[in-house]
């Protein structure tokens, strides 16, 4: 049900990001989302690829340090306040967001947001209370 995210360790080095996206492009892997968190010295690149297994193998073979873990994708109404309503609801709960970012895709007046939260089960309960459900990989055309 969850979507696989691949995180890649980034050194603070010019061209490293281009190297990784280039490698994925060479392997005909499409990226559906990218987010980077960084300090002055290093960073974490997070990607959602259309074929996560293929992306994982390409990166491992390239000698990158990676981690694959499930994240939750939620379709948020693509209108003003669509996201803030959801965030407000989370703010009032015990669930905290470790990080979030958006998918490139917009569909049916919805924006797709990627969430990594501290308490997955409670997060799902909260979502359903508000009529939202996590999106399956298949719905996004991900392998």
């Amino acid at each position: 049900m969850a979507v696989n995210q691949i995180s890649v360790f980034l050194e603070n080095r010019n061209g490293q990001l281009a190297e990784i996206t280039g490698l994925l492009a060479e392997n005909k892997i499409n990226l559906r989302a990218i987010s980077i968190a960084e300090t002055a010295d290093y960073g974490v690149l997070r990607i959602i690829a259309d074929d996560s297994e293929k992306a994982k193998n390409a990166l491992l073979q390239n000698g990158n340090i990676i981690k694959v873990n499930p994240v939750t994708v939620v379709a948020v109404p693509d209108k003003p306040a669509g996201l803030s309503e959801l965030l407000n609801m989370l703010a009032k709960s015990d669930v905290s967001i470790e990080y979030m970012y958006s998918l490139f895709t917009h569909q049916n007046d919805k924006a797709y947001m990627v969430f990594r939260v501290t308490d997955y089960d409670n997060f799902i309960k909260l979502l359903s209370k508000h009529g939202l459900t996590p999106i399956h990989s298949a719905e996004l055309g991900l392998k």
Partner: protein
């Protein structure tokens, strides 16, 4: 289970060893006086003649030889035998520029190889073993020393030299190597490569001799667990002969010094005063059997402790602790002494790989210390906060150990070169 290569020496009584040392020292001082004008001048300057040296008790009367002397006398100034009698040189790149070139007669090579054979037998080597020598061959003493020792023991010797990991692992699995000799950093690297390639079941190693670099007890454990072997230390330096000056036995609590060839002393490095056994100080060696490069009272710059406590292996040879630091490697950063081995200990305790590089620089007249550490899949997290927390813990542990702040820089795996010979651990960019 103890086995000795030369039991008559290795298990001799203290009195027997002492008598041998007295006799050999007297002879050696005479040999040096007659053959090494450079040292004779030093003796004359101190007002000492061979007649003043009647035994080990008089050793303290002799002048020291330092790295500076080696530099000044380079290349032939300390030669103690006619070149027609010399058959070999070995050399090491001094950390301060000029190379050290050491000379050997046939007898010198023979005795050196005996020392290495003692080390190999002490870790269990027999003529049934397959000994993979993955130290660098050539000028470096590592390859030549263990190679010669392995021949003497009668083990099947694989003269691999360092590097070319694919070939190392192919021979290791195809020929069933049982003993591995290389630098500890290369042993750790081979261990990682074996695991990456899923070759663990095909490895027959039982023991390894790893020297020429400082390494910690934690690193020993890592190598032992990774390769399923017992990992032993060996000590030596080109100036004195090479590996085999001292070697570890099954007890793994220090290295037995081959004191029938090399008399150790511990001195206060500042006052040059000789300290009693058990004190921590600079290790000094006097070669009493070497002909071609017979250094007397050579200051090694290694800081360690000697012990005559009875060893369970049955050897009576005096033991030296692992060097706690080398004045050559010792960095003075912001006025504080920093040893790479301290940094290594912290890294291993915090779950980092034992592969690091220390960069010292001076910015705005103030020293900076940076430690490059390799990221591993186990330490990596998708959450940046986890990594920064981990990094802060490492910085704080380093601060506790060193007493000063060290910046930590996480780098991609295998960024820090280590597959050839000695890893470059320290880069000092300060121009003083």
């Amino acid at each position: 289970m103890s086995n000795y290569y030369q039991p008559e020496v290795e298990t001799a009584s203290y009195e027997e060893i002492r008598a041998l040392q007295d006799e050999r020292l007297v002879k050696q001082v005479k040999h040096v006086w007659e053959n090494v004008p450079y040292y004779r001048k030093k003796m004359e300057a101190k007002g000492v003649t061979p007649e003043d040296i009647k035994g080990v008790d008089d050793l303290h009367k002799l002048p020291f030889i330092t790295k500076d002397d080696l530099r000044e006398a380079y290349p032939y100034g300390l030669l103690g035998a006619d070149l027609s009698k010399c058959v070999r040189i070995q050399s090491t790149s001094g950390t301060t520029g000029k190379r050290v070139v050491a000379f050997y007669t046939k007898e010198d090579v023979d005795l050196w190889e005996d020392c290495c054979a003692r080390a190999l037998v002490a870790v269990g080597a027999t003529n049934e073993d397959v000994c993979q020598v993955a130290y660098g061959y050539g000028l470096f003493t590592g390859g030549a020393g263990l190679h010669g020792g392995s021949h003497k023991v009668g083990s099947l010797t694989l003269p691999m030299s360092s590097g070319n990991t694919d070939r190392q692992l192919q021979f290791m699995t195809d020929l069933g190597s049982t003993i591995l000799c290389c630098t500890p950093s290369y042993a750790a690297y081979l261990s990682e490569s074996i695991h990456e390639r899923g070759l663990r079941d095909q490895i027959k190693l039982k023991a390894g001799i790893f020297g020429a670099e400082a390494w910690s007890e934690n690193m020993r454990r890592d190598i032992e667990n990774g390769l399923g072997i017992k990992a032993y230390d060996i000590y030596g330096l080109t100036e004195i002969s090479g590996p085999g000056v001292a070697f570890e036995c099954e007890e793994q609590t220090g290295m037995h010094i081959n004191e029938d060839h090399f008399i150790p002393e511990i001195i206060n490095p500042d006052t040059e005063e000789v300290l009693p056994i058990g004190s921590k100080g600079e290790l000094v060696f006097t070669c009493i059997t070497k002909e071609a490069f017979p250094l007397l009272r050579y200051r090694t710059r290694d800081i360690c402790v000697l012990s005559r406590e009875k060893c369970s292996c049955g050897r009576t040879l005096i033991k030296m602790s692992k060097p706690m630091g080398r004045s050559d490697d010792m960095l003075i950063v912001k006025g504080v002494n920093v040893f790479p081995s301290q940094i290594e200990t912290v890294l291993l305790e915090q779950g980092y790989p034992p592969n690091y590089q220390i960069i010292v620089d001076r910015v705005n007249n103030s020293d900076t210390l940076e430690v490059l550490v390799e990221m591993t899949p186990e330490l990596f997290s998708d959450n940046l906060g986890d990594i920064t927390t981990m990094e802060k813990e490492l910085v704080s542990a380093l601060k506790t150990m060193l007493g000063i702040y060290a910046k930590v820089k996480l780098v991609a795996p295998k960024t820090i070169a280590r597959s050839e010979g000695k890893a470059v651990r320290i880069i000092d960019k300060r121009k003083i």
